[in-house]
Symmetry: C2
Subunit: 220 residues, 2 copies
DNA sequence: AAAAATTTTTAGATTTACCTAAAAATTTAA
DNA sequence: TTAAATTTTTAGGTAAATCTAAAAATTTTT
């Protein structure tokens, strides 16, 4: 059994490893709002427990066991987010911090029943996939909105940025999960994207378009 | 803000204070599965924070602030128990340990929304009253089943013993919350009680009868 | 390929919540 | 009302997770 803190380290390493192969001490420290010296200490401990592979000065990678724990926490986090949004009417930009606490509740029974209660959701309120109880993720086929061409259409199925500011902005624009969109124009000047929604036409910046994920329903 | 451990001490002191006025060091130690020396340390800390009044060798009492925190934790614990039983189909003897963890999740918003989601329940799955968000308990009028006379009837509305063994036993006998009962006889020999339920007649020991709480609907 | 900059680790402390063993205070019993 | 038993506290220590400051290793730049 891991401590609350160990679980957080494993989760952080897991997420960082999605971007870079070798996860660096400083990156972990920054993410966890702590100091590199503290990270080194913890990494040694996790290595002794067989949860990470660690070579001095070379960064860390999760072992199979460490990855399993991390995925399990990700699963819990995302299921709780679904609960908060679908059952307790939280907004998608309000759930992260609470889920951060709830993800450490230890009962396996609890999570399996929660999963069932929620109808075995495949994605959380931001479109991030929820692993099943065996740690398997459903295959997802996302394209960044920015990569679409004029005339392409699809459904908003996720975001790759979870800040409250960004999510509130999308909400205001009416760009929420499940919405159908079509690219009507791409502005030469600033690369901003003109989008047709069912009921209106809007313009979004490149920066916003980068972080919206689309499941395409065919090019044109 | 209190730590997880501090919250548990306050909760334990609160519950012990329901039985004895002056809560003793040893009693706390036993309840918390720790040593008296550790309790003394923690009590000093809580006293410094103004959460308990403490005189050496004389035991502790909660201050107003300490009591507020304790009641808040009791509220959270009992609401989560309702959630587990009513929404996730846990049995009433399975919920305590998980609720023990969930009660420390810090978001006020979460608890208010959970309360609403559950329909503002007044009691947990064992019949224990749930304080409202201002810490006020609904008035409850319980009589111990053992105190009823032959011919008296009422509704099972609570239990004063939460062990899994006891709860499982009640379940098997069909003595669950909400059931209508009438006392048909009290055995001279061993004080065991003969009870009429809607569909059957059963006999329970004095020991069991002591821990069943009845809201009476009139003597006969 | 040195020098400079950056990253990482080590060394030594601190805080929280524990512990054991022994001393002190209180309560109970003779 | 002493003596014995019990309860509580003190003193001194430990383990987990942190920290700062300085040393060591690595990477980047010139």
């Amino acid at each position: 059994m891991q401590s609350y803190t160990e679980e957080n380290y494993l989760k952080t390493i897991y997420h960082l490893a999605e971007k870079t192969t070798n996860v660096q001490t400083n990156a972990i420290a920054e993410q966890m709002q702590t100091k590199p010296a503290s990270v080194t200490d913890m990494i040694k401990k996790l290595a002794e427990k067989g949860l990470v592979d660690y070579i001095k000065y070379q960064g860390v990678t999760l072992t199979e066991a460490g990855k399993n724990t991390a995925v399990d926490i990700v699963r819990k986090h995302r299921l709780w987010e679904v609960f908060l949004v679908n059952k307790l009417n939280f907004k998608w930009d309000e759930v992260h911090d609470v889920a951060e606490e709830l993800e450490h509740i230890k009962s396996i029974e609890l999570i399996e029943r929660l999963d069932e209660f929620l109808g075995f959701p495949k994605a959380d309120p931001h479109g991030d996939p929820i692993p099943d109880k065996n740690g398997r993720f459903a295959k997802t086929q996302f394209i960044k909105l920015i990569e679409l061409k004029i005339g392409d259409s699809g459904t908003i199925t996720g975001v790759s940025q979870h800040s409250s500011a960004f999510l509130k902005h999308l909400e205001k624009l009416g760009l929420t999960l499940g919405k159908q969109i079509q690219i009507s124009d791409i502005t030469d000047f600033d690369g901003s994207v003109e989008i047709k929604l069912s009921d209106k036409q809007i313009n979004i910046s490149r920066e916003v378009a980068k972080h919206i994920l689309i499941s395409s329903n065919g090019k044109n």
